[in-house]
């Protein structure tokens, strides 16, 4: 049934080996914990290779792997949130060691997960909007509105920060 098994597997392997730091950064920006982020990338890489037969169009390998990674991130995030619902703040404080400018990253964190993902994929990972739509499993217009809404919120947050800085 699937004769192209190895070609797909090779392409996916190559993609992961080139991009693992991108996945890791994306994961870090959501889970704020090195251990969880590494676990997400490792698990995503395993699943991508194991299911490489189900990649039907080899030219979509990059977005396909991204999609698996995003699913892993959301899965972990949901599990974490469920666990710490009463604990209030589930942002791991270890994050402060990793980013020099914590206020900036906090501003990004204040945006809803899906909007944040769109901004990061678009501006930090240089992906196209239709690719992002595929990765997040949403349609293009939803992604566009997430982008504009996210940017607007980010702008407001940054203005707040600037004012504090000036005073």
């Amino acid at each position: 049934m699937f004769h192209r098994g190895n070609e797909q597997e090779e392409k996916i392997e190559q993609t992961i080996l080139e991009k693992y730091n991108s996945y890791y950064r994306m994961a870090m920006s959501f889970v704020h914990n090195e251990e969880d982020a590494a676990d997400i990338v490792q698990e995503g890489a395993y699943k991508a290779i194991k299911n490489s037969n189900s990649l039907k169009h080899i030219e979509y390998a990059e977005t396909w792997v991204y999609r698996i990674m995003m699913n892993e991130i959301y899965k972990r995030l949901n599990a974490k949130k469920a666990k710490s619902i009463d604990a209030g703040d589930f942002i791991d404080l270890k994050v402060e060691d990793k980013y020099e400018n914590i206020d900036l990253m906090r501003a990004l964190d204040s945006i809803p997960d899906n909007d944040k993902a769109v901004i990061q994929l678009k501006y930090f990972e240089d992906l196209k909007l239709d690719e992002i739509a595929y990765i997040l499993g949403e349609n293009l217009s939803t992604v566009k509105s997430r982008l504009y809404r996210g940017l607007k919120k980010l702008r407001c947050k940054m203005d707040d920060l600037d004012m504090k800085g000036d005073d």
């Binding site: 049934m1 098994g5 597997e9 392997e13 992961i16 693992y20 730091n21 890791y24 950064r25 870090m28 920006s29 090195e34 251990e35 982020a37 590494a38 676990d39 990338v41 490792q42 698990e43 890489a45 395993y46 699943k47 290779i49 194991k50 299911n51 490489s52 037969n53 189900s54 039907k56 999609r67 699913n71 892993e72 959301y74 899965k75 972990r76 949901n78 599990a79 469920a82 666990k83 009463d86 990793k98 980013y99 020099e100 400018n101 900036l104 990253m105 501003a107 990004l108 901004i119 990061q120 501006y123 930090f124 595929y134 499993g137 949403e138 349609n139 940017l151 980010l154 702008r155 940054m158």
Partner: protein, 298 residues
């Protein structure tokens, strides 16, 4: 304003790009990828072997039937026999693919055709019919769900496959694997074990002496294993000893809990996603050491 956006985003990007995966974690990732390759090969090897066996049996039947006695043809039919008189064939394939959706479903069927008649094969046929009906019901449910989801936005991908796992002389176990790759990803396994001596489907209770407290004894051992694993590795998490959400904690197995008997004759208890551990952990299995149940086994 757009210029200001650029500045903000540039600053953010610099911060965003700071984290780097450690060499240790990269190494672990590569190991996981090798594991993925290995498991993929195993799965496709099994699948192609199964198809080959079915095709070979069909070809032989066509070639031989016209001029050889029915007894020989009969023997030929038994080529892909798995575990005595039970063999697994493909009942139905369902494949669908478009831009966003993929279904790769192979519905297995336990066949007893060609076996000689006696009381245990009669029982075996009845058992096979019951299991086949259950498998079809599950598969149809998944396919219906897939079809209704196809109309929604997003990408949907289901896979159903099966595997014969029992290797003992006494038991035959078919594992039905259902995998939903869209959204958060979800895997569900079903196990069907048949006693090859009686032809009957084996329930967990059948393995133990009447009145024995097997559910508690097995559950205590599972809890012990959970605690040991969690103590040895911080990244392992089971729903146990959680004081905040005691209602999530694993308490006791039920008669519906899945199991099979491995090649060493040990009972293996299987849980689906989210049953005893966070969903991201996937399906989990616990092998119950023989000495734990030695006193209560039949």
């Amino acid at each position: 304003m757009p210029n200001n956006d650029d500045k903000i985003l540039k600053l953010l990007k610099e911060q965003y790009e700071k984290p780097m995966m450690s060499d240790k974690d990269i190494c672990k990732m590569k190991q996981r990828m090798e594991k993925g390759k290995e498991e993929k090969r195993l799965l496709s090897k099994k699948r192609s072997y199964m198809r080959l066996a079915i095709a070979a049996a069909a070809v032989l039947a066509i070639l031989i039937l016209p001029n050889i006695s029915s007894a020989v043809a009969h023997a030929m039919e038994n080529i892909p026999v798995l575990g005595g008189f039970f063999k697994v064939i493909t009942f139905r394939d369902y494949h669908y693919e478009d831009e966003r959706n993929i279904a790769d479903v192979v519905i297995p069927e336990i066949s007893t055709e060609g076996s000689t008649d006696n009381s245990s094969t009669d029982a075996g046929k009845k058992t096979a019919d019951e299991i086949n009906a259950e498998i079809r019901e599950i598969a149809n449910k998944w396919i219906e769900e897939f079809k209704s989801n196809m109309e929604n936005e997003g990408y949907h991908n289901i896979m159903i496959d099966s595997e014969v796992i029992a290797t003992t002389e006494d038991y035959f176990t078919l594992k039905l694997i259902c995998f939903w790759a869209a959204g958060s990803g979800y895997e569900e396994n079903h196990f069907y074990t048949i006693d090859l001596n009686t032809g009957k489907k084996v329930e967990l209770a059948d393995l133990f002496k009447e009145g024995s407290d097997y559910r508690r004894i097995i559950s205590e051992n599972i809890k012990k294993q959970m605690r040991e694993q969690m103590a040895a590795d911080d990244s392992i998490k089971y729903w146990i000893d959680n004081e905040e959400y005691p209602e999530w904690n694993f308490n006791e197995i039920t008669d519906e809990t899945s199991f099979y008997i491995n090649g060493n004759g040990e009972i293996v208890i299987c849980f689906n996603e989210g049953e005893v551990a966070p969903a991201y952990v996937g399906t989990v299995e616990f092998t119950i050491p023989k000495d734990v149940v030695a006193d209560i086994l039949k």
